[in-house]
């Protein structure tokens, strides 16, 4: 695409990096001024490592990077930033106890005689947040109080305030909803006209089609192809990423036989995000929960599960053929005892014991069941249980004694799911089950979810990816401002209708109307 890239702004040649195994092999990459160049590939393909090399987090073993003709070999993030290379990472790196404003300008707080000028800081912060469409956000609130999506927007806002010539975005939209994505893309286009080159790492083909000029496919640390984004079809790209053609995505097709109502949520109120949510899900059904970030979907799942205190309403569960009376679970332990399971949104913080083994993680919900009399652990039984669950979910591993921190995101997610399979849960709640997971692992997760409903379980799936919900679910409930605004069956749903419903709760001043 020489027409698009007359003078390379950034030029990487024969980059090599190996840890235990090679991660990048003779990797070449060019970025023109004002270009959005997407990097796609499965997890572990080497995209993030490359981004980290440019940003100074990782040093390459071999190869050279030229930035505007001069060598670029940063040893720290600050080095890279000094040359205008700014990275927005996939993991969220805000300091939770500091305010949004302090997080935005932590390295350049406005000060006089060593005292922070808070008025100036907050004014700057408001401008920065306005730019990403969150002008209403209280910039004095601690960053830890924000949801994942908002935190991601703060990270992006922080990058946008820096003088940058190369902006690297690593899965920026994984936690964002459509309006936020649109706003992000608007910002990217503005940067482009200013000559900033953008490296866009993502799994989301839609994003790439919309924003990227060129797209490079990485597989096993090598560049497979680079071409204009417009000329590539999704199937082609996915095929190149996995190295073989994928079978066409199996749609769920006609709804199978549904059983009795397995979980009924009735006027659930919790915190200030969940304001009277009601819905139900049947045995053998996948119910999708769509909605904007902050609409209360995650909080609804947590409240059902007893993870957060419930202040109104409750849930009715069907347990061994009987529907139990309306109740509120005081703790997750109580919910699990009645056959509920939750796969949380944030795997690393809420799901896994990262330094511990697959065995310990996969059996965590069933430790007493695998133990002998008097509570002695039976390691051999745990091994069998963990192996079985991992085989069933095709967890890629060297051994079940391997630490889960060494697994890819998709395989980590499978380990969390494995924990609930071992318990034989009747109702499973999934919060963003494919967030930050590569395309082929996503397909595996979908297949697992379908197998679970085929066994007569009831699933509730929260996702910000509408396309995902529409391929996976039997029914989609749309949350807006803490309530269910609408429900759709496959014959009636469309992206437009769901999006409209997602906004419906915010059209009037819904904060006071309770």
């Amino acid at each position: 695409m020489e027409a698009v890239a007359p003078i390379p702004h950034l030029q990487a040649r024969r980059i090599g990096k190996a840890y235990a195994a090679p991660v990048l092999v003779d990797f070449d990459f060019d970025l023109a001024p004002g270009e959005v160049h997407a990097l796609v590939g499965s997890n572990g393909a080497g995209k993030s490592t490359f981004a980290h090399i440019l940003a100074g987090l990782v040093q390459p073993d071999s190869g050279t990077v030229l930035l505007d003709g001069r060598p670029h070999a940063p040893r720290t993030l600050a080095d890279a930033q000094a040359r205008g290379v700014v990275l927005v990472q996939q993991e969220l790196n805000l300091l939770p106890t500091l305010s949004v404003a302090e997080n935005l300008f932590l390295d350049c707080l406005p000060q006089r005689f060593g005292a922070v000028q808070f008025a100036a800081l907050h004014a700057q912060a408001r401008v920065a947040m306005q730019r990403v469409g969150l002008g209403w956000l209280d910039v004095t609130a601690p960053a830890g109080a924000l949801g994942v999506g908002q935190r991601q927007m703060v990270e992006i806002a922080r990058a946008l305030t820096r003088q940058c010539s190369v902006l690297i975005l690593d899965e920026p939209t994984a936690a964002l909803t459509e309006p936020e994505i649109a706003r992000l893309f608007e910002n990217i286009r503005q940067l482009q006209t200013g000559g900033v080159g953008v490296i866009y790492v993502s799994h989301r083909m839609d994003d790439i089609r919309r924003i990227a000029d060129r797209v490079t496919v990485v597989r096993d640390g090598r560049r497979v192809t680079t071409r204009a984004a417009g000329t590539a079809t999704v199937d082609q790209l996915v095929g190149e990423m996995v190295g073989h053609a994928l079978p066409p995505r199996a749609a769920r097709g006609s709804v199978g036989a549904l059983g009795a109502v397995a979980l009924e949520v009735s006027d659930l109120v919790a915190g200030d995000r969940v304001r009277g949510a009601s819905f139900s899900v049947q045995e053998g059904e996948i119910l999708g929960l769509a909605g904007l970030i902050g609409s209360g979907r995650t909080e609804t799942l947590r409240a059902i599960f007893g993870a957060d205190p419930v202040t109104g309403g409750g849930v009715r569960l069907r347990d061994s053929g009987q529907t139990r009376p309306l109740q509120r679970f005081p703790s997750p332990a109580a919910a699990v005892a009645q056959g509920l399971g939750l796969v949380p949104e944030d795997r690393t913080h809420d799901g896994l014991l990262l330094p511990l083994s697959i065995r310990v993680n996969a059996t965590l919900a069933t430790v007493p069941a695998q133990a002998g009399r008097l509570g002695w652990l039976e390691r051999s039984r745990e091994l069998v249980a963990a192996e079985q669950a991992c085989n069933r979910l095709a967890v890629r591993r060297d051994s079940v004694e391997q630490a889960v921190s060494a697994l890819s995101g998709g395989n980590q997610q499978k380990v969390v799911i494995a924990r609930w399979l071992a318990r034989d849960c009747s109702v499973l709640l999934f919060d963003e089950p494919t967030r930050g997971i590569d395309v082929s692992a996503k397909e595996t997760i979908y297949a697992i979810l379908r197998a679970l409903v085929a066994e007569g379980r009831a699933l509730v799936v929260v996702s910000s990816d509408l396309a995902e919900l529409m391929t996976l679910c039997d029914r989609i409930a749309v949350m807006s401002a803490g309530r269910i605004a609408a429900e759709f069956t496959p014959d009636a749903w469309s992206e437009e209708a769901i999006t409209r419903a997602a906004f419906s709760g915010y059209l009037y001043d819904s904060t006071d109307a309770r």
């Binding site: 939770p96 106890t97 601690p142 830890g144 109080a145 599960f305 993870a307 957060d308 703790s331 997750p332 332990a333 919910a335 699990v336 005892a337 399971g341 939750l342 949380p344 913080h349 809420d350 799901g351 896994l352 014991l353 990262l354 330094p355 511990l356 083994s357 310990v360 965590l364 919900a365 430790v367 007493p368 133990a371 509570g375 002695w376 652990l377 004694e401 924990r419 318990r423």
Partner: protein, 330 residues
């Protein structure tokens, strides 16, 4: 594979201890004597049982600064029961254990149920228990005499005291509890990631309270050992014990950030500290020099710990954990 790594850690600590023994053996003539080892074995039971309890407390990501005072209080109660009330030893001993249990359970309940850092709550308990120890004994040292000394007297033919054997038993039982039981698995899970453990359907509050209560019982046991070794009960007993215990646990490689630790390694930590102390004394080091050397050893051990767990935020995370007052919804 797991087992091998742990065994290599045992070996490393054992070698450190052996090196210390060798070093002091060369520095002073009488160090290498059976009598010396016997004296060492008879000195360490109180520290050993307290350090076993402290290992559990650190594994769940907590800390208990009150153990020295609680040992003083339990010992004071023991002395008063034996001397003033003329209780038989078994009942007085049970009362001392109960006193420790109550103190530990209180610290645990307040810090766990109210979500307060155990650092602060146990700091409060440190003052409370020491005050109560003085109130109980009217600031007097109670001379009890030979009726309690049986525990600390070496058994003929073995050269080791019952107290030492019980302390050794608590190490074995503690290691078993930690690595081979459901309860121990939960403690490791809680220390590694409490939010994830809770969301896996495990009740996390009660095990944490039990750990503090267990810490209290073991401190009470330590008090009995201490009193029986001295033949008297002193309300000042156990001053600074919390620091020796934490130091022993940390030298044993237990993570201050929770989730990782070993009771057996803690025992090696205790041996290293006690050997250092008596070895330096034998070699003629003054009290100030002893303290400087011990301090250096502790810091070196923590540095190694921080280096080993750097990926989890290192030593700074400890400070963040213990001084974080306002908590976000976990």
């Amino acid at each position: 594979m797991h087992g091998n790594r742990i065994r290599s850690e045992y070996l490393a600590l054992f070698l450190v201890w052996a090196a210390l023994v060798l070093l002091f053996g060369m520095l002073s003539e009488n160090f290498f004597s059976l009598r010396m080892f016997g004296a060492l074995a008879n000195r360490i039971p109180p520290l050993t049982v307290v350090a076993v309890g402290m290992t559990f407390v650190l594994i769940i990501g907590g800390i208990d600064l009150s153990v020295g005072s609680v040992l003083g209080l339990s010992g004071a109660v023991l002395g008063v029961a034996l001397v003033d009330w003329q209780w038989p030893f078994p009942f007085a001993a049970l009362l001392a254990l109960g006193t420790g249990l109550f103190a530990g359970w209180t610290t645990g309940t307040v810090s766990v149920r109210l979500g307060m850092p155990s650092f602060i709550v146990s700091l409060g308990m440190l003052e409370i228990a020491r005050g109560l120890a003085f109130l109980t004994t009217d600031s007097q040292t109670k001379y009890i005499g030979p009726s309690v000394e049986g525990l600390a007297r070496p058994l003929s033919g073995l050269g080791l005291s019952p107290a030492f054997l019980i302390a050794l038993g608590s190490v074995v039982a503690g290691q078993f509890l930690l690595t081979r039981t459901v309860f121990g698995r939960y403690l490791i899970a809680i220390g590694t990631n409490e939010a994830a453990t809770r969301l896996a359907g495990i009740a996390t509050l009660r095990p944490k309270i039990i750990v503090f209560a267990l810490m209290g019982v073991l401190t009470g046991l330590g008090a009995i050992f201490h009193v029986s070794r001295l033949g008297s009960s002193d309300p000042n007993a156990g001053l600074g014990l919390e620091l020796s215990a934490i130091a022993a646990v940390v030298i044993g490689g237990t993570s201050l950030m929770g989730g990782r630790g070993s009771v057996v390694n803690t025992f090696f930590g205790v041996l290293i500290i006690a050997t250092l102390e008596s070895g330096l004394a034998q070699a003629g080091a003054s009290e100030p020099v002893k303290r400087v050397v011990t301090g250096v050893v502790i810091v070196a051990a923590v540095m190694i710990d921080a280096w080993r767990s750097r990926w989890r935020g290192g030593f700074l995370a400890l400070f963040r954990r213990h001084f974080r007052m306002g908590k976000f919804n976990p």
